[in-house]
């Protein structure tokens, strides 16, 4: 069967036969970079369209339906428009930081792509501290946002950036604790091992209630971390007009926009990997024939399906809930999510030590 694994293997073998190992590695890097950028562009287009369609359906509207069949080229047209627009830089802005900020945000999003297992044996970098790498790199995105808010020299931007700083720093904690529960259960930080540990069942099902709680906490925390409604205080449209990216236009704005959606994809991919078994097919106990059918579905489709399901849930949140206030946001984290996740981690540790999970 033609799987992603065999394609990569063929390419690598071919490269090694033609070139010396160093050059082959370099070429592989180039291919990976190109693929990553393509994936980014594609994801941006698809996710923005998806968001608009989901929003429209929830709001009893049709959504984009003019450009292309069912409006599928709408986001491509929008991108074209954004590329052609002039990227203004305000006079009194700190020009260097102002122009750097979108790229910082974008780079952080790109870095996070490295350890994600898209399919069976299809991973850019199977680093042995994968989870640690993710949680440390993802907290860097706040620097880009703060940079943008500060450099814009706009009060709304500044307020948005400050809110974002407080928010991301706080929610990093409970996201980290939620991730830790899986690390405790698996006993490894490596993504491939975490996935492998879920061969006979996803952690969400194997790990009893504590893992379900951790999953819910994770979803809430990453919604906050990606600045999505109901935690979109950094850009709170009705309060701060557009928050930290008020002054951005054209492609620089598009980069922020893209980074937001890439970040959603990444956190959902990580959520799918940790809690829903990554590319692992759905296996139920001893239903051998059922498990066998499930194995026929390619692993990349499993992975994407799970990720997009989580993305949909996050979008569902956005179009249902009102926004929290900034102090309530921090209250939620420090008075509810953090104590619960601490207690939950303790519980999971007990379960892991006693071996009570399936």
């Amino acid at each position: 069967m033609l799987s992603l694994e065999s394609i990569t293997k063929t390419i690598q073998d071919w490269l090694l036969t033609k070139f010396s190992p160093q050059i082959a590695l370099t070429l592989e890097c180039v291919i990976v970079i190109l693929l990553a950028i393509t994936l980014f562009a594609m994801l941006g287009l698809v996710l923005v369209l998806l968001e608009r369609k989901v929003a429209a359906r929830i709001q009893i509207r049709l959504g984009p339906n003019r450009v292309g069949p069912g409006g599928i080229f709408q986001t491509a047209a929008d991108t074209l428009k954004l590329i052609m627009k002039e990227g203004l830089t305000p006079d009194s802005a700190d020009k260097f930081l102002f122009n750097l900020a979108p790229f910082v945000v974008m780079m952080v999003a790109m870095l996070l792509l490295a350890p994600i297992a898209f399919a069976k044996n299809f991973q850019i970098w199977d680093i042995n501290i994968g989870v640690l790498y993710i949680s440390s790199v993802s907290s860097l995105s706040v620097i880009g946002i703060l940079m943008a808010g500060w450099a814009s020299n706009n009060k709304y931007s500044l307020l948005g950036a400050m809110r974002s700083g407080a928010q991301i720093v706080s929610y990093e904690l409970s996201a980290g604790f939620a991730v830790l529960t899986i690390v405790v259960l698996t006993g490894s930080l490596q993504i491939s091992e975490i996935v492998a540990a879920q061969e006979n069942g996803w952690w969400l099902f194997k790990g009893h209630i504590p893992v379900i709680i951790a999953f819910v906490l994770y979803i809430i925390a990453v919604t906050a971390e990606t600045n999505r409604a109901p935690f979109d205080l950094a850009e709170a449209e009705s309060e701060l007009t557009a928050g930290f990216h008020t002054e951005y236009s054209g492609m620089k704005f598009a980069l922020f926009f893209l980074a937001e959606y890439i970040n959603i994809f990444i956190v959902c991919a990580i959520g799918a990997t940790l809690f829903l078994g990554g590319w692992m097919p759905l296996h139920i106990g001893h239903w051998e024939s059922f498990n066998h059918i499930m194995d026929y579905i390619p692993s990349s489709i499993w992975f994407m399906g799970k990720t997009f399901f989580l993305i949909f849930v996050i979008m569902w949140f956005r179009w249902t809930f009102p926004r929290l206030r900034v102090d309530q946001l921090l209250n939620l984290e420090w008075k509810y999510l953090l104590p619960i996740s601490l207690f939950n981690l303790l519980l999971v540790t007990v379960i892991a030590i006693m071996g009570w999970y399936f």
């Binding site: 929003a55 929830i58 709001q59 009893i60 509207r61 009194s92 020299n153 706009n154 009060k155 709304y156 500044l158 307020l159 809110r163 409604a229 109901p230 979109d232 205080l233 709170a236 449209e237 009705s238 309060e239 701060l240 007009t241 179009w319 249902t320 809930f321 009102p322 926004r323 929290l324 206030r325 900034v326 102090d327 309530q328």
Partner: protein
């Protein structure tokens, strides 16, 4: 004439004590129109709010001085455009009072129904816009779906969707549409089914409650002193419904409750409006089958002239008490006309109740004050 804190010309300027001074509006997503608030902030906390008005001031009062008593009514539709029927009713009632014009029963009942439909439409729009201010986008569309039915009814009967100019001194401009009653009944039925959706999405939502409860508290004394009327004052426990105090049209023959809440916070104001919609439905249900046959407009002279003197008429719009004060010199045009608009007084209380709260609270407070800027500016 301005002090230096008011209009911050350079964006990097700070207030006198180093506070952040933010110009909120005239183009801002949450000010719904061209309200300009100069907000002095200490971090996220509001220290002072100064409204700057006049961006949509058309000087309706001056315009009316050169319009006849038939003509000036159409301008008032453009004041509080969400309750244009009620504005028109106020003017028509004043002219009728000044000239002792007998209004047929049919016209009175139809006016009452239309006024209540307008009130529901206004509150529907408000509920959507208010939820949007707080970051929930979806209720807006659900609210507009029901509001659309009302505007359809208005379009059928009055020929316009927003600025109707259907009510004239003496009654109505023309008779109601033959489908009017069935359409209103269909609306009442659908509204009753769908109103629970707001409960699920907005009222019961824990985030919405925590955003509005205890936010922007207005005491009864302050509400009276600041001249607040309508749902804003009723949420603070002040009885001020003109429909009860000084019944006009057919309000004296229908049963309805004046909705009173005592908390005085944003959530109370929200609840007052939601409950008021149900009371409006109650009024409509009582009247819709009781529209008497007969003329829709009373006998009026061709040229309307008010006697020399002063006339005051108040009605309850969706936002509060609208007063029309006319000084007549006996001519065909008013000598001086003053509209006491509810929004103006309700806005004046904003600084008082939003001081010390967060920016997010300002949106909740401003949203529940239900400001319509043309009504404030006139």
């Amino acid at each position: 004439m301005y002090t230096e804190t008011e209009i911050i010309k350079d964006n990097t300027d700070l207030g006198p004590d180093g506070e952040l001074v933010v110009n909120m509006g005239p183009q801002h997503p949450a000010t719904h129109g061209v309200l300009h608030l100069v907000v002095t902030l200490n971090g996220e906390t509001i220290k002072k709010i100064e409204p700057h008005l006049g961006y949509i001031h058309r000087s309706i009062e001056k315009m009316c001085e050169s319009l006849t008593y038939r003509q000036f009514i159409y301008v008032t539709s453009r004041m509080d455009y969400l309750s244009s029927h009620i504005n028109n009713t106020a003017c028509a009632l004043l002219v009728e009072k000044g000239m002792q014009i007998e209004v047929p029963e049919r016209a009175k009942v139809v006016r009452t129904i239309l006024n209540e439909l307008t009130r529901i439409a206004s509150h529907e729009l408000w509920i959507g816009a208010m939820a949007m201010d707080l970051g929930a986008f979806t209720p807006f569309f659900y609210a507009f779906r029901e509001r659309e039915m009302i505007t359809d009814i208005m379009e059928d009967t009055c020929g316009a969707r927003l600025t109707m100019n259907y009510i004239v001194p003496g009654g109505l401009m023309y008779d109601i549409h033959p489908d009017f009653q069935t359409k209103v009944k269909a609306f009442v039925k659908q509204f009753k089914e769908k109103v629970t959706e707001y409960e699920d999405l907005v009222t019961g939502n824990v985030i919405f409650q925590s955003r509005t409860k205890g936010v922007g508290v207005l005491t009864a004394e302050d509400a009276i002193s600041y001249g607040c009327t309508g749902p804003v004052a009723r949420a603070s426990g002040v009885r001020c419904d003109i429909r009860k105090i000084d019944p006009y049209d057919a309000y004296d023959r229908v049963e309805f409750d004046e909705v009173i809440e005592t908390a005085g916070d944003s959530f109370a104001r929200y609840m007052v409006r939601v409950k008021e919609m149900n009371q409006s439905i109650r009024i409509i249900e009582q009247l819709i089958d009781q529209i008497p046959e007969g003329d829709f407009v009373g006998k009026t002279k061709n040229v309307l002239k008010l006697a020399k003197g002063e006339f005051y008429q108040r009605v309850e719009t969706a936002r509060g008490e609208l007063g029309v004060y006319i000084v007549s010199e006996g001519a065909t045009t008013p000598h001086r006309i003053k509209f006491r608009s509810p929004g103006f007084s309700n806005l004046s209380v904003l600084d008082h109740i939003a001081k010390g709260s967060k920016i997010g609270d300002l949106m909740a407070t401003m949203g529940t004050l239900d400001l319509v800027i043309p009504d404030i500016d006139r």
